[in-house]
């Protein structure tokens, strides 16, 4: 889709792209050689991506354009005022859980240096783990089930799988020492996975053409592509299974 006329690019632009692509001799090659080297490099990358089964590989032309866009963006950025380096974590012991989609959440946490020091002093071989708890309600204190995930002391975030629909999840950070003693350091707020009525009532959908038309005729494109949503796909899979049965 992005198609600059690469013949119009200046030597400086081509050298910039070549440097970004890691070509060592970018400064000594002439224009034609640079073009040839870059085309070759991109073709190799594309072939490799196709070989790995990735259906979409960006074309060489698109790479030229993308790198140029980046080149443009970089031009003024070094001069922007007030840009500070952000800390990796903050001085607190806390964990957050962000809902990403019906199957995944993202946990990020920090442990304050005083807590870490206390743990290190109490045991040389302490370890940290995340406890993903499933709750019957939003009450965080009464989990119905839980699963533990071992993490490193250097880890600060983790993607959490949410296996069931219509359930409430929280995640807590725990420590454990060599003797099996341990405790909770912090706990997140809860997130609730959505549950569609139609997953459990797919029989109605199968038998009721009117409802099916009302519900799905606005969710599928002219070319037959459905709105991209894993839960919607689950509804359709339930429907297909019933129809197959």
């Amino acid at each position: 889709m992005i198609t600059p006329n690469i013949d119009a690019l200046s030597l400086g632009e081509l050298q910039y792209i070549a440097r970004k692509q890691g070509l060592d001799d970018a400064e000594v090659l002439d224009r034609e050689e640079l073009l040839e080297a870059l085309q070759e490099l991109y073709e190799e990358q594309e072939n490799r991506l196709h070989g790995e089964g990735i259906s979409y590989a960006p074309s060489a032309q698109q790479r030229f354009m993308n790198t140029l866009v980046e080149h443009e963006s970089d031009a003024n950025l070094g001069l922007l005022p007030g840009v500070q380096r952000l800390p990796e974590t903050y001085c607190e012991t806390r964990i957050h859980l962000l809902f990403k989609d019906p199957y995944w959440a993202h946990a990020y946490w920090s442990v304050c240096p005083a807590d870490l020091q206390r743990l290190e002093q109490s045991s040389e071989d302490f370890s940290l783990f995340l406890r993903v708890a499933v709750h019957e309600s939003a009450d965080r204190l009464r989990p119905a089930d839980s699963v533990d995930i071992q993490v490193m002391t250097t880890d600060i975030s983790w993607n959490i799988n949410l296996p069931e629909r219509g359930r409430t999840y929280s995640v807590s950070l725990h420590y454990r020492d060599g003797n099996g003693n341990g405790g909770m350091l912090c706990q997140s707020d809860t997130v609730r996975t959505p549950k569609s009525y139609w997953i459990e009532h797919s029989r109605t959908l199968r038998e009721d053409e009117k409802t099916f038309t009302l519900l799905f005729s606005s969710l599928v494109s002219k070319g037959g592509v459905m709105v991209e949503d894993p839960l919607l796909r689950e509804v359709i899979e339930h429907l297909d299974a019933r129809m197959g049965g």
Binding site: E70, E72, S73, V225, D229
Partner: protein, 536 residues
């Protein structure tokens, strides 16, 4: 005969990009391209229809950051410089095409003509503030203007922070009143990002409806009765309209949508990239930074790189075909739904405004044609969400499901592998802002200004644009820097206030740099005082 009701919502939004510290700034072109290629031509088209008595009712959302930029004298001045520069390039292009590229000459002339018209209307009709044009169209009943989150924040990822969501919505309404002298009734959910309960915040600001992603009603925990063909009422009484994916995809899809037709103009072939540096240099960014100039002579043609010249006449014919096809699709849909609904169907057609004219060059001609053709039928009409709610005040009470219109249907675009790291910092800034609002409530003078600046910086860091750009991978270093800049600025205030100090020199500079939301009140981050304000 039951009619098909079309509810078109155009969301006009640009992130806040304003760098007076530089003579020209690359990312400011985003705004200028949108004004020149979408907003001014859109106003032209709406006014023409109004003059000719063609009836239409359309909803338009204007983001507060866009309103701030459109009203900013520095950016207004820069936009005129931009137009004049492109006018000069147009004159040079007419000369060049006359001598070297005859097939492109008519197009070069028409681009130049469009720039001349833009310049004339920008000065003479709108006195450099195009918002007045949209306000005027609302006054005559053709547009319903609504608002969106103050910095277009993707709200589901701030679920844990009610003060921040409140601030985004309260400030949006305040900004809308300032710019349009009227309280908005509707709210555009940025990226259609919804979580159950979000409507509570909207109700506090007397907002009566919002739009949703297409799957939000079908995936509800209760069965929806009318699919996406009528709004539902959330349990608190705020109405929700789900987007019609089938109809919007005819326009929106980059695989099967109308804009992919080979006869239409190719966006990415632009003389800014195609012509030699020595020719184009005065019209791009210094030192030798190639950018889009708007002078584009090729048609999409196909997937390959060999493009044919763009032929406007062929494209015009396609526009008519596609407008007819759209009408046909609506009619077919209406026939399919006949007997299935107890009321006339409403199709929510929600788009980013910049698709029309900017991304899809012929998009405005298509829209004009559809508006005209629909006005000549007796089985379809364009009406606003409010019109439909007046006609059908009773609707099903239903809690929509969490959803967005992003890839995958939820939050992964704004919280994926490349950009999820930002929330640790933005969330922390919100918590610290809440802390400041509680510890230093109702300050006056310098401290008040200092804290207001902190609130501005937090809100600007919440913009959905930064994670989106990082996700897309183009201009990502700018987005990252902007995010860090706002968070860094916030930290300056936080650290100073923790020492009960105000850095006056810094404050004056910061206020000059980010003058968005002049009436902001940092106390909105104090949840307790918010409760009192609402209860009082």
């Amino acid at each position: 005969m039951p009619r098909n009701s079309l509810g078109l919502i155009l969301n006009a939004h640009m992130p806040y990009v304003r760098h007076p510290e530089y003579p020209r700034f690359l990312e400011e072109d985003w705004l200028f391209e949108a004004i020149g290629e979408t907003y001014l031509p859109l106003l032209r088209m709406f006014r023409k229809l109004r003059e000719e008595g063609v009836p239409f009712r359309v909803t338009m959302s204007f983001s507060p950051t866009l309103c701030a930029m459109l009203s900013d004298p520095i950016l207004q001045g820069r936009f005129t410089d931009y137009l004049r520069l492109h006018q000069e390039l147009g004159e040079k292009e007419v000369e060049r095409c006359t001598q070297e590229q005859q097939p492109c000459l008519p197009l070069a002339k028409s681009y130049l003509e469009m720039i001349n018209r833009n310049l004339q209307e920008y000065f003479e009709t709108y006195q450099c503030n195009i918002l007045s044009g949209f306000r005027d169209l609302e006054a005559t009943g053709h547009l319903d203007l609504i608002t969106t989150a103050a910095t277009h924040a993707y709200l589901p990822l701030y679920h844990e922070y009610p003060s921040a969501i409140n601030a985004q919505i309260e400030l949006a309404v305040q900004s809308h009143i300032n710019h349009f002298k009227k309280r908005p009734k509707g709210f555009w959910l940025p990226e259609c990002g919804y979580f159950p309960g979000l409507e509570e915040y909207l109700q506090k600001e007397e907002l009566s409806y919002f739009q949703l992603a297409a799957q939000a009603l079908v995936l509800s925990e209760e069965p929806v009765k009318r699919g996406n063909y009528a709004p539902v009422t959330c349990p608190n009484g705020v109405a929700a309209f789900a987007r019609d994916y089938h109809l919007t995809n005819l326009v929106w899809s980059n695989v099967e949508g109308y804009p992919t037709d080979p006869h239409y103009r190719e966006f990415y072939r632009d003389i800014g990239y195609d012509l030699p540096m020595e020719y184009i240099k005065p019209y791009i960014h210094s030192p030798e930074v190639r950018v889009f100039t708007g002078y584009k002579y090729f048609a999409i043609t196909g997937k390959g790189n060999d493009k044919k010249f763009y032929v406007p006449e062929l494209a015009r014919r396609k526009v008519q075909e596609h407008a007819d096809n759209f009408i046909y699709e609506i009619r077919q849909k209406g026939r399919k739904l006949a007997g299935l609904l107890d009321r006339e169907p409403f199709y929510t057609l929600a788009f980013d405004a910049e698709l029309f004219g900017h991304w899809w060059f012929e998009g405005l001609d298509w829209l004009e044609s559809v508006l005209r053709k629909v006005s000549q039928t007796d089985d379809m009409l364009f009406e606003t969400q409010l019109d439909y709610l007046k006609r059908y005040p009773e609707s099903q009470v239903l809690q929509p499901a969490i959803s967005s219109w992003g890839e995958g249907g939820y939050s992964t675009v704004w919280a994926g592998g490349s950009n999820v790291w930002i929330y640790r910092h933005v969330h922390k800034a919100i918590e610290r802002m809440e802390e400041l609002a509680i510890r230093f409530g109702d300050q006056g003078s310098l401290k008040q200004r200092f804290l207001n600046q902190a609130a501005r910086e937090v809100l600007l860091s919440m913009a959905s644009d930064w994670p989106f750009i990082i996700h897309n991978g183009t201009s990502s270093s700018y987005a990252e820097k902007r995010l860090k800049e706002h968070l860094g600025n916030f930290n300056v205030v936080y650290e100073n206030m923790c020492k009960n100090a105000v850095n006056t020199e810094w404050l004056v500079k910061a206020e000059k740099r980010d003058i968005v939301f002049p009436d902001i009140d940092y106390n909105m981050f104090n949840q307790k005082s918010n409760r009192n304000r609402y209860n009082g």
